[in-house]
Symmetry: C2
Subunit: 413 residues, 2 copies
């Protein structure tokens, strides 16, 4: 649908649906619509949006639009919006909504349900209600099912288990994802460091965050920079201008090109050996590629395990040890695989020897690079997924070429 | 914790917690525990497990254990288990649980809530209840919040919107993930093709499925076969035997090695040209690598967009057209990037010409392979992510080498 039709359709919708539909639109369409609607219409829409959707809108539209929008909010709403925008990007605070229902432990179930009936209409989710004390400290969370299954005359305290999972607002969104996943929650309460209840994060936002994370990992893996296009670009890939895709790809391609020139330099320095044994060149691709492939495999396993928290930073020595065994075995098989060709195509036992030896060493070195690099990036506060397959392939090229031609030089001369 | 301690701890837990804790254990630990517990204990645990967790247990344990377990179930439970196991793997039917609460449209809210109080205890989630007619056709879904917010004397029909999202049991789990994501659901009703309500899929299972999908994609991307180790292997990577990791990695490494030998063959056939201009070899890595890197980038974008449903199979021509423009621009920049080195290191204008030309053509061809391959795999009913970075790199090697040396031969002789 083109943007003009969007606008007309949105106006035709009943008031109570407008904000819901508007929340689901792409940020650029939202911005466009805001520009075209009167202030009164905009105010009516953003006032009835859920807080988390509104925060997302503020984050994604241009600063001037954000300023205009904030000016349209009521004092209360403005305070809320500025507070949430004050949390660091990627923090739980940015994902949370203050639209929850809180009850007190000395109420009866009947009073609690009445309270939910009265104040639940605005709440993002009332599948879970939260028990707070007089200072608004979070005391417990109660699934609504438990309230309903209880007798109306019981006291809230009697159905509390005083066991709940919560997270602080400045924590990383990753942490919230892990908690929701681990404990099968539909909502996660967010507190400040003194355990005051600030808001909740709902599972639908977590699923979106998980999808974004997935896209981020995959693009990093293939050396694409998501920054110039935003992480949700895949969902509107048809509309992303080509120059943005160009920008997302060119940085790493150029960086890798420069690294590849090093490989060329290494080859150049062995020019004499190559001129004498031109056949050596025919094994160059298979040797460096296999090292790169083995390295990519081990990097993926390490990156994924780091992301899921299965291995920790301190495990690196243990993993190097394991990798040495697996890569050694893989190297031997690959060496065997290449040996016949090495002999037949190379035409001499010496050449075959160089090729097989280089293969074994290359697979081991490539794999070890793959294991180490994600740890190195993590150490320097970079995402371990920066150890992309193209980067590892290129590093394996440089080192693999040096090892191969070095061995050839030593053995053949 | 070692397996013996697990067993002791599990026995020490109160009965009502045992099945919950047991459900969260790794399948191999579950199997171990089942072997060691008496039939009566096992029966008590599996009888109180949620149906979806139980199905997962049956799926993941060895056939003999599954048979033993099924024999311990009641007639009703056995029927249910066999029915669910009858659905194809990766189908929604396997994920669903029949533990939901259904109500009728002519009931009062009060009667409905009483019904939920009575039958809701076993239900996996009562955040949403389902309205069915007398033939058990799904008529509507009602979030429990709406029931609570309504007046007790109202009729269920009066709060129905007769608008609901459902899925059929034989549909792929991917579809369920997409629906839950798109409509921000916490549970999705599952029907047969006649719209009879069979069960529900809950959001916690979807998050698990999403994580598994993420791992699957990443491993495919780096040419690791997840089959020999299972998709949840990352969560217990420390315990996976090394030979299994070896098996997961060797297949693709060998396949790619064989493909790389083709590249060697191509180089061999240009041996004379190379012997005359040894310096050509120094540009081989940068040329084929850049093609591979560009190809990986475009493959990732296409694979991700296909997975999210942003682009369809029929879009391939459109995407090829776009890619041609972007890759052309990237190729020109890369060609410029290599030109000085080409001239300085190559020592002649002719060599520089070959290198720059080969770079432009290689980047374009590599990118086009990257765009096309995921479509080809989809066409042949393979996961598009099979177009892994190592595979694309290797194909780019073969074609890139042929183009480069071919151009060199034509221009230099």
């Amino acid at each position: 649908m083109d943007k003009k039709d969007c606008l007309i359709l949105l106006r035709l919708l009943p008031k109570e649906l407008q904000s819901g539909v508007f929340s689901e639109l792409d940020p650029d369409i939202q911005e466009d619509i805001i520009k075209k609607l009167t202030d009164i219409d905009v105010k009516s829409i953003i006032s009835s949006m859920h807080t988390d959707d509104r925060t997302e809108l503020f984050e994604e539209t241009s600063p001037e639009i954000t300023r205009k929008l904030i000016s349209l909010l009521s004092f209360e709403e403005r305070k809320e919006a500025l507070e949430i925008l004050g949390y660091p990007e990627d923090s739980v605070g940015r994902l949370m909504t203050p639209d929850y229902v809180a009850i007190k432990e000395d109420w009866t179930i009947e009073k609690a349900i009445k309270h939910i009936r009265r104040f639940g209409k605005d709440a993002e989710t009332i599948n879970i209600v939260y028990v707070v004390d007089d200072e608004w400290h979070l005391v417990d969370d109660i699934p609504i099912r438990r309230l309903i299954l209880a007798e109306p005359t019981q006291i809230v305290k009697s159905i509390m288990d005083e066991h709940f999972i919560s997270i602080i607002a400045i924590a990383d969104q990753e942490e919230a994802i892990k908690l929701i996943e681990k404990y099968d929650l539909t909502a996660l309460p967010v507190t400040d460091s003194d355990k005051h209840l600030l808001g909740i994060v709902t599972v639908d936002d977590i699923i979106d965050a998980l999808r974004e994370e997935q896209t981020e990992d995959l693009t990093k893996y293939s050396a694409i920079e998501a920054a110039p296009i935003g992480l949700d670009f895949i969902t509107k890939i048809r509309e992303v201008p080509l120059r943005k895709i160009f920008r997302a790809r060119i940085t790493w391609l150029l960086a890798l090109l420069i690294m590849d020139l090093v490989t060329g330099g290494i080859i150049k320095s062995f020019e004499k050996t190559i001129a004498k044994y031109v056949v050596l060149v025919t094994f160059l691709p298979v040797l460096v590629d296999t090292a790169g492939n083995a390295g990519s495999q081990s990097a993926t396993l390490v990156i994924r395990a780091l992301a899921l928290g299965t291995i920790k930073m301190k495990d690196w020595i243990y993993l190097i040890g394991r990798e040495f065994i697996v890569a050694g075995a893989l190297g031997l098989i690959m060496g065997l695989g290449i040996s016949i060709t090495g002999f037949v195509r190379g035409g001499s036992f010496l050449i075959a020897q160089v090729v097989v030896l280089a293969m074994i060493v290359n697979v081991i070195i490539g794999s070890l690079i793959g294991v180490l690099l994600p740890f190195v990036f993590t150490k320097f506060k970079k995402d371990p997924a920066t150890a992309s397959t193209p980067l590892i392939t290129t590093l394996a090229d440089i080192i693999g070429t040096a090892i191969y031609l070095g061995l050839a030089y030593l053995i053949l001369s």
